[in-house]
Amino acid sequence: MSNSQQTSGIPAIPAKRTGAEIYNSIMREIEPELTLDQIPLMKEKYKDETPEKKKERGERYAKAMEEYERRYAQYMQKQDAKVRSFKIGAIHFAEDKASATDQEKLKSIESSFGTP
């Protein structure tokens, strides 16, 4: 996902990622078997699994989901910070624009004083 970018001073809204993209990008680093394309393959892959192994795998997956929750919370905290930063950028942009308008008016007034 691209970060907020400046285009001629105005911050641009970052492209929206889908829930699937976000989920996969986080889960891939924790437990690749739990990415969205791998989950449907599980049944066939582990069809001969013993109950003990199944329980071990379940424990591994449960931990992975817990870790996912933690990392997702961190991801959302970062996004919050980006939104706040974006908001400040937008306000500054508007202030600069308004200030530019004022400067033009001042110049116009000054130059009218200068003409005989």
Binding site: S2, Q5, T7, S8, I10, A12, I13, P14, A15, K16, R17, T18, G19, A20, I22, Y23, M27, R28, L34, L36, I39, P40, M42, K43, Y46, P51, K53, K54, K55, E56, R57, G58, E59, Y61, A62, M65, E66, Y68, E69, R70, Y72, A73, M76, Q77, Q79, D80, V83, R84, F86, K87, A90, I91, F93, A94, E95, K97, A98, T101, D102, K105
Partner: protein, 580 residues
């Protein structure tokens, strides 16, 4: 794990996980999402916890449901984030608008605000409460940001929509969002082709009669339906109040502008795509392009496009879409060397790809670059660089086209310069494409290796999980302990590395013990776990086979060590039934 202060932890229950910290309360003026109420949060957390418990109890198949829930949650959260971004822009625009109303000159303050915010791909409208709201699609999807228009593009749109500022804004937004490779472009392209298949009578019916419009919508894909609905609505609003027919003066203005542009164009020397681009420009000006031969005749025979305001506006927009699509196509064709466009002497042929370095050299170059920047970041940056260059190429291509057949010496010099710049950027894009492909390949290869080796490691651990197996296999305990303390990972430079079981730096002493035990079993004297200072494996290719051999060896050891089964007792003699 995060513990939410509102929940008590009971001994027999697992801790509840917080699905993100509660959203900060929106600042004044920001229309952010409401902070989730406690009961709703509790329900969600309960649902997640129930699913995790089910998975833990040996029902790993429940992961699909939980994954779907998490995907949905991420979708909702990110939609809220987008709304917050839009809300921030709306607040800034309203602040600027208020300044203009109080202190600005002129009357069209809305146009001034829209002009200022145009590079962000935003168009504002004035609501009934005299506050600005967003009128159109604000975000360029798929990572492509809306770009600023070039002077030439702006002039083209200014001339085409000189009598209708609202249509002009819609056209500007459309042009800025349709960058090469963007999903918006793909949607517009699909719609453009579907609409142009219709006869002139069908097109007129679609634009003026609702049943025909609804029938057309049902024939096209969903993505195009939204696009054309929005387009139709925008044009209807923009052309509301326009006179039902063009006045003579308006017609004359349209024809004059078109004649001036056509004077500089020699159709006999132009390629097919150049002629089509010129027809699109004529359509954008409001010319009826039903008879191209008449348009390209010397002198040209021109007619203004007649019809209702809606039809005229739509026709111009179709010209604009056609112009954008054809320009991008021309640029792509030139990169492939298909157009046969003339090349100034001394310059490489248009479309010539950057000389491809050997794959090894390219791989080495990427490794060097990843010493100073993480692989994922490098990929993302190169992608963004390529996007920017492609946008610049589109702009340059337009400028080169305009200068191509000029006779003036100054124009010829400008053409040489711009054409050289264009080809240089095309080569840069070709180089970036190769680098991006190489980086993706390096990442995928490392990820695949990691998955295979972790799978092999887990299979060995699973087998040695049985205490009797660990005892029976020579070196089994050491190998089991060592494997449990390590994991294969892909580092920031897309290299296969070793980490400890929690993903932190590997304990090299423990790794040395493991490696020694395995080398001893294999009897080869090779250190299969040799790593460099950054814990990157030196010979990852051999490990997969090693793991397989180890597992086979373990099974053999366990079987050989099993006590012999006692001989089956002799079958008891059968006693014949006693008969009376």
């Amino acid at each position: 794990m995060l513990f939410h202060s509102k929940f008590t932890i009971e001994k027999e229950r697992r801790p509840v996980f917080v699905h993100g910290a509660p959203a900060a309360a929106p600042a004044s003026g920001e229309a952010g999402p409401a902070v989730p109420k406690t009961p709703e949060l509790t329900e969600k957390q309960k649902e997640i916890q129930n699913q995790i418990d089910a998975i833990r109890q040996g029902n790993p198949d429940a992961t699909q449901e939980l994954a779907n829930f998490q995907v949905q949650q991420a979708d909702e959260d990110n939609s809220q984030l987008q709304e917050r971004y839009k809300s921030a822009l709306i607040s800034a625009a309203n602040a600027y608008f208020a300044e203009l109303v109080l202190f600005g000159d002129g009357e069209d303050h809305l146009a001034t605000v829209n002009e200022a915010f145009a590079p962000a791909g935003i168009v504002f409208e004035l609501g009934a409460d005299e506050k600005l709201t967003i009128g159109g699609e604000a975000v360029a999807s798929g990572g492509e940001k809306a770009r600023a228009l070039t002077d030439a593009e702006q002039q083209m749109i200014d001339e085409a929509f000189s009598t209708n500022p609202k249509s002009k804004v819609a056209a500007e937004r459309l042009m800025a969002s349709m960058t090469a490779g963007s999903p918006d472009l793909a949607v517009a392209h699909g719609f453009f082709e579907n609409f142009n298949k219709k006869s002139p009578q069908e097109k007129q019916a679609i634009l003026t009669k609702d049943p025909a419009f609804q029938k057309f919508l049902s024939e096209i894909p969903v993505g195009q339906q939204e696009f054309v609905k929005q387009l139709r609505q925008t044009i209807a609003e923009a052309t509301e109040g326009e006179s039902a027919e063009l006045s003579d003066e308006e017609k004359e203005d349209i024809l004059d502008g078109a004649r001036q542009e056509l004077e500089k164009f020699d159709a006999s020397k132009a390629t097919e795509i150049d002629k089509n681009i010129m027809l699109a420009r004529m359509q954008l000006r409001g010319i009826d392009t039903g008879n191209p031969e008449e348009i390209f005749a010397k002198p040209p025979v021109l007619r203004a496009f007649e019809g209702s305001p809606m039809e005229r506006g739509f026709n111009k927009i179709m010209g604009l879409i056609g112009y954008i699509l054809l320009s991008i196509q021309k640029m792509k064709d030139q990169m492939k060397g298909k157009t046969g466009a003339e090349v100034p002497a001394g310059q490489p042929a248009a479309g010539a790809e950057a000389p491809a370095p050997g794959q090894d050299v390219l791989r080495q170059k990427m490794k060097e670059e990843m010493k100073t920047k993480k692989g994922d970041r490098l990929l993302s940056d190169k992608g963004a660089q390529k996007t920017t260059l492609e946008g610049e190429i589109t702009i340059l291509q337009t400028e080169v086209d305009e200068l191509k057949d000029k006779e003036d010496e100054e124009d010829k010099v400008a053409f040489e310069h711009k054409n050289g710049e264009l080809q240089k950027k095309q080569q840069e894009v070709a180089q970036l494409t190769q680098e991006i492909t190489m980086l993706q390949e390096m990442k995928t290869t490392a990820e695949n290796q990691k998955n295979v080796l972790n799978g092999g490691k887990d299979a060995l651990i699973s087998y040695l999980d049985r205490p009797d197996a660990r005892v029976r296999v020579p070196g089994g305990m050491k190998i089991y302990d060592g494997l449990k303390k390590m994991v294969f990972i892909v580092n920031d430079s897309f290299e296969l590395s070793i980490a400890n079981e929690t993903g932190g730096p590997i304990d090299r002493t423990a790794l040395g013990d493991l490696s020694g035990a395995i080398t001893f079993r294999m009897g080869t004297g090779v250190d299969y776990f040799a790593i460099n200072d950054q814990a990157v494996l030196k010979q990852p290719g051999e490990l997969q086979a090693v793991f397989r051999q180890l597992l086979d060896g373990f099974k053999t050891d366990v079987k050989a060590d099993e006590p012999p089964r006692p001989a089956a007792p002799p079958a008891a003699p059968t006693v014949p039934p006693v008969t009376a």
